[in-house]
Amino acid sequence: MANRRWILKFIGSATSISKAKVNALLKGNSIHVIDMSLFPKLLLVEGSKQKMNALTSHSDGWTYSPDKSYKVPGTRKKLQP
């Protein structure tokens, strides 16, 4: 299954989360961290959907959604190929 970027969100009740533990957990699931600047609330990671499913189903309080691509609305008219 192809790798893609995901936003991993912590929705659990824990008040303090160990960065080292989260890193180890992600590494153990072959998920690569891209951006931890919003840790612990949000992380940008890369991995397969299968790995993300495995991660979130075995660890409490984490959910994920795809990292989507936004554009500026085109200011010019369109032309079909």
Binding site: L42, L44, K68, S69, Y70, K71, V72, P73, L79, Q80
Partner: protein, 492 residues
């Protein structure tokens, strides 16, 4: 027409048990009011003017999410009357079955059957205009034709089938400093020469027609606006107070424009020289979310940008960005910003009367459509092609042909043929809901700065609610209908 919606508080799904202290008590009361056994009754919830009919169909619990039926025409009115409440359309899931493949039509001709025409673009002095984008339409409605860019001599060779004798529409977009042109019914000769018109920064475009920006006083520096875009500047007409680049792997303090879109957006709000912005004097913050390589902006970089703008103290955020599907992560961040007293305005999208794009379509964002006015752009220029019904009470006004529409639209603003800044102290004319959005944000900033009290309140959902109510009182409908203009346009 009516539709079913789910009503929710800003962040939670439960109003009365919410631990969110920023939740407005009025929101709690609102959910309580709807908790009475009113499944089949119509409740009339009054705002200042008239009652709003709302039919409660179901409820998760006494103070939990409600399923209601609302008339679509009153959607924007509802959201301005009851800010701080998320309105999520009830959706229905299908079985995951494979859709049929789309049909693709191609427009081509063999080389031997093609005719060549050289298009030359110059200014009034006959100097060539390089890098001008040309769109030659054989059929404008079907979007068939050919496009390209002029070379250093201002020339582009176009090759179309010999059977094509005329172009229905020829559009010319100089990179900056000149108005884009629109020529109709162009005979395909061997050579076509086009002269473009220089931008006169004192010209009264639609933005300056309605807001007379050169005569407006500069506003006090009490308002901070975050512009989440391609970056801002450099431009001598724009003072950028701060910001960040939130693109993964790029330097955080590199928030200058990597394109030209963000600079144009910023100029509409805060340009301090001609063409003067609608909120000159405001504090501009630049959050660059688009990468330098020309790629799209990721939702994570947008989330970071909104989060940083809130942290920096911005009270208003401009999102002239678009996605054709809902994005849970960005929506959640807009809700988070709202709960901290910050309102996000978003461009409706430019797909020509299609559904409102996200994040504009998200109920806690202010979706802005684009309007224009005949007589506010020179004859033969590109905005002419955007004139389309509906026309307003004043028949010179129209909702731009490119503007997306729908019941998520909350307001409209000038967005056709708008003069603004281009990096490197140049100027450019652009049309789009991307331009209408900052026009609305800038005027909202001006109105809030003049009012003065609300903006000083503690940053919370209650402040956001008050800002929305106050701004609602400054809107006037132009006669386009709710799907096109929501509650109308700001007037100062």
């Amino acid at each position: 027409m009516k539709q079913n919606f789910i009503l929710l508080p800003v962040k939670t799904t439960h109003a009365l048990k919410s631990e969110d202290k920023s939740l407005n008590p009025e929101v709690k009361n609102f959910f309580y009011k709807l908790s009475s056994p009113a499944k089949t009754k119509r409740l009339h919830l009054h705002d200042d003017d008239k009652p709003l009919p709302i039919k409660v169909l179901d409820s998760v619990s006494e103070s939990g999410a409600k399923l209601v039926e609302l008339p679509l025409d009153s959607l924007a009115n509802f959201q301005f009357s009851f800010p701080g409440i998320r309105l999520v359309p009830e959706v229905f899931y299908k079985k995951a079955i494979m859709p049929s493949l789309p049909l693709t039509r191609l427009f081509s001709a063999a080389a031997s059957k093609r005719k060549s025409t050289t298009v030359t673009v110059t200014n009034d002095q006959g100097e060539p205009i390089a890098d001008a984008s040309i769109y030659a339409y054989v059929d404008y409605e079907k979007e068939t034709g050919i496009d390209g860019k002029t070379d250093e001599r201002g020339k582009l060779q176009i090759r179309l089938s010999k059977t094509v004798k005329r172009l229905e529409v020829l559009l010319v977009y100089p990179p900056h400093s000149y108005w884009p042109l629109c020529l109709k019914n162009v005979s395909l000769e061997d050579a076509i020469t086009i002269k473009v018109r220089a931008i006169d920064v004192t010209y009264e475009d639609v933005l300056r027609h309605f807001y007379k920006t050169p005569t407006l006083p500069h506003i006090r520096k009490t308002i901070k606006i975050g512009i989440v875009d391609t970056g801002i500047g450099p431009h001598t007409s724009l003072d950028v107070e701060g910001g960040a680049c939130t693109v993964a792997g790029e330097r955080k303090n590199d928030y200058a424009d990597c394109d030209n879109h963000g600079t144009h957006v910023a100029g509409i709000i805060g340009s301090k020289q001609d063409p003067v912005g609608v909120a000159a004097g405001v504090q501009l913050y630049s959050y660059r979310v688009f990468p330098k390589d020309g790629g799209d902006a990721s939702s994570f970089s947008i989330i970071k940008a909104i989060s940083k703008a809130v942290e920096d103290g911005c009270q208003l955020i401009n999102l002239s960005i678009a996605l054709d599907e809902s994005d849970e992560a960005t929506n959640a961040q807009i809700a988070e910003a709202y709960s901290k007293g910050v309102i996000c305005f978003a461009a409706a999208g430019n797909d020509g009367r299609q559904a409102v794009s996200y994040p504009a379509a998200y109920s806690l964002a202010i979706a802005v459509s684009a309007m224009g006015r005949r007589g506010t752009f020179p004859a033969g220029t590109e905005p002419f092609i955007d004139v389309k019904s509906p026309y307003g009470k004043d028949p010179k006004n129209f909702i731009a042909g490119f503007s997306n529409i729908g019941h998520e639209i909350k307001i409209t603003a000038p967005g056709v043929g708008i003069m603004s800044c281009y990096p490197g102290n140049k100027f450019q004319v652009l049309s789009g809901t991307s331009m209408a959005c900052p026009a609305a944000v800038g005027i909202a900033a001006r109105l809030l700065a003049e009012e003065g009290r609300i903006i000083k309140r503690t940053a919370s959902a209650q402040r956001a609610d008050e800002m929305i109510r106050f701004l609602h009182s400054k809107l006037r409908q132009l006669g386009f209908g709710a799907r096109y203009e929501g509650q109308g346009m700001f007037f100062v």
